[in-house]
Structures are given as C-alpha cells and as structure tokens.
C-alpha cells in the first residue's frame, strides 16, 4: 500500500529488480524459512533492503508474492497425490510420509503450518487447505478401521505441528534417522496391514 504500483507502469530497472527479488526470495525462503532477515533476500538479489519495501511493502507482501513458488505448489501436490492413492490405509500412510518428508526438505512449510505470519492471507489460506485434508483422512481412516482407536484430526494436526517445532528449533536429524522415526510414528497411528 505504499510505493507499489502495477507492473504495467513500472520502469525497466524497477521491473528487473522485482524479478530479482522474487527469485532471491524463493531461494532464500526455501532454504532458510520465511523468517529470514529481509537483508539476506536483498543481498542475494543484489539490491538494498529498502527496495524490497518499495516494491513489496515488507515481508508480508513479499511472502504473498512468492509463497506459491516457495511451498504452495508442493503442498498442493502432496494433497492431490494423497487423494489419488487407492486404499484408505495406504492413503493415510502416504500422506504422513509425504508431509513429513516435505517438512524435512523445506523448512518454509513449517512456518506455514505454524502460522508464523498470520498477516499473509495467502499463507493462512494454505494453512486452511492443509487442515481440511486431515479431517477427511481421519474420517475415512476410522470408517475403514485402519486408524488407532481414538485418534482424532487434532492428533494428526498436532503430529505435524510438533514435528514442525522439532525441526524448527531442534537439531535436524540425519535423513535416515528421520525416516526411521517416521515409521515409528506411523506404526503407532496407522499400522501396516498385518501380513495376509
């Protein structure tokens, strides 16, 4: 809402800077999460921090502008993939593995899930979409009798939130350790089918 004008009327150097900043933001946000100092983004874009404010009006505007390239696409892909997995049990197991994998690979999703930037509408929307699938999976899971007794959508939510917090604030485990632990989580919540 400050010096942000439409792309049509932007001078060439300004348009170039907008592009640079977007590219830099996607890269830096993906690597370091959405809370990274804007100075870092500016440095990678070869631009001064003030230019980010001129063009995007601050962190929230920048997040809205790039969130799709940073995480939304991948998050939606997971949800779509999941919905297309046949078999309730495997669908749930697939989702848990996929979301945990994404959380490990992309710290930025954790910022989304934790709602660290509630000012960004784009981000909150994402969050809501992510929440919806939990309800569906848990309902299906119980209907099919493949989920642990008493397991709620809130529990599934908490599972991802706790994991987000662990990854955000703790030491990141090796991929091997992490995947092994994913398996234990699954075993407690939606165990593999017993061998027929």
């Amino acid at each position: 809402m400050s010096g942000v004008r439409s792309a049509a009327t932007l001078r060439m150097d300004a348009r170039r800077n907008v592009d640079r900043i977007r590219v830099a933001a996607v890269e830096v946000f993906r690597d370091q999460g959405l809370a990274v100092p804007l100075e870092e983004v500016a440095a990678v874009a070869n631009v001064s921090k003030a230019t980010i404010f001129n063009r995007f009006g601050g962190r929230t505007g920048l997040i809205d502008a790039v969130i799709d390239d940073v995480v939304a696409a991948e998050l939606r892909a997971i949800i779509d993939d999941t919905r297309s997995v046949p078999g309730v049990r495997e669908r749930i197991r697939h989702y848990v593995r996929a979301i945990r994998d994404l959380q490990y690979r992309l710290p930025a999703v954790n910022d989304v899930l934790l709602q660290e930037f509630p000012d960004s509408e784009a981000l909150m929307a994402l969050c809501h979409v992510a929440g919806a699938i939990h309800d569906d999976l848990v309902a299906e899971g119980h209907a099919a009798g493949v989920l642990a007794r008493g397991f709620t959508a809130g529990d599934l939510h908490a599972l991802t939130l706790d994991n987000a917090l662990a990854l955000k604030h703790g030491d990141r485990p090796s991929r091997t350790d992490y995947e092994r632990r994913t398996a234990f989580v699954l075993a407690g919540v939606c165990p593999e089918a017993p061998p027929a």
Copy 2:
C-alpha cells in the same frame, strides 16, 4: 565468584534474602521454566534483581543452587521408579509415560533436557544421568524383543527432545489430548503385550 560469601558470615537480612530468593526461584522456575527473566524471581522474592546477582552471581549460580528442588529430585525419582518396575516391557512403557508426564507438569525439565543452560554443571550432570537410562532401557528392550525393530537410544532421546520442543514452543494441549498422544507414541515404539 563476586560478592558471594559463605552462609556462616552472612548478615541476618542477607540470609533471609537468600532464603526468599531460593523459595521464589523454585516456584517461578517450576512454573515458567529456567529461562524466566530474573526480574520475575526478584519480584516474587520481594527483592531487587541486583540482590540476586549479589547473592548468587547470576542465573547460572541460582540454577545450581535450586535445581535440585526444581527438578532433579523428581527426575531421579522417575529413574529410580522405572528401574524398579518388573518386566522389561512395562518398565519401558512406565518410563515413557512418566517422563512425558513430567515434561507436561514441569516446563523446567524441558530446559534441562534441551540443555538450555550449559554453563550450569548441576544441570549438565542431570542431563547425563537422564541420558544413561535411555541406553539401558533400549538395550533391555531389544534383548527382550519388546521394542520396535531398529529403535535406538537416539530415537528415545529424540522422542523426549521433540516433545520438549513442542511443549516449549507450541500451544500446550489439554491433559487428555496429551495423554492420548502418549499412548500413540507408545504403540509405535513399545506396544502393549497382545492379549494372552
């Protein structure tokens, strides 16, 4: 190492303040964790922050002075209790339930487990003791075949650390939700005996 002199030579008002501060510190640390601003402790003790520095030389000294009453006793109690539970499976299950319960009740243990104050020797010692039991339990568990295949002492450690981070940085769940989730964790790691 500054104005801290032995209890014997302390003037009466000073001795009274030392006591007040200890009492306040135990209460405040238990409620709010070891990272609480020293001003809070001072306020509860009806004393100025400077007095804490005079008497204990800062947070580290204060922690060392009260850690036992804050958490060490309870932590050791859990370990002793655990060691006396007969049956490997129930021993492990008891430990996991007990430590998670303690983490919920006493935020301060989480600061200990997370090693937030590595300057305090008392605290680091505790941490080591807590680590030791993990190795033992996991070894026993595998020998008895009651643990999930591939589960390591590091995994048990990670379980408590991740939980510590979740409680420290996230919203604290209701006790009911928390305990239900404890059960899912156990189910994935050291399931109940199948009905004989």
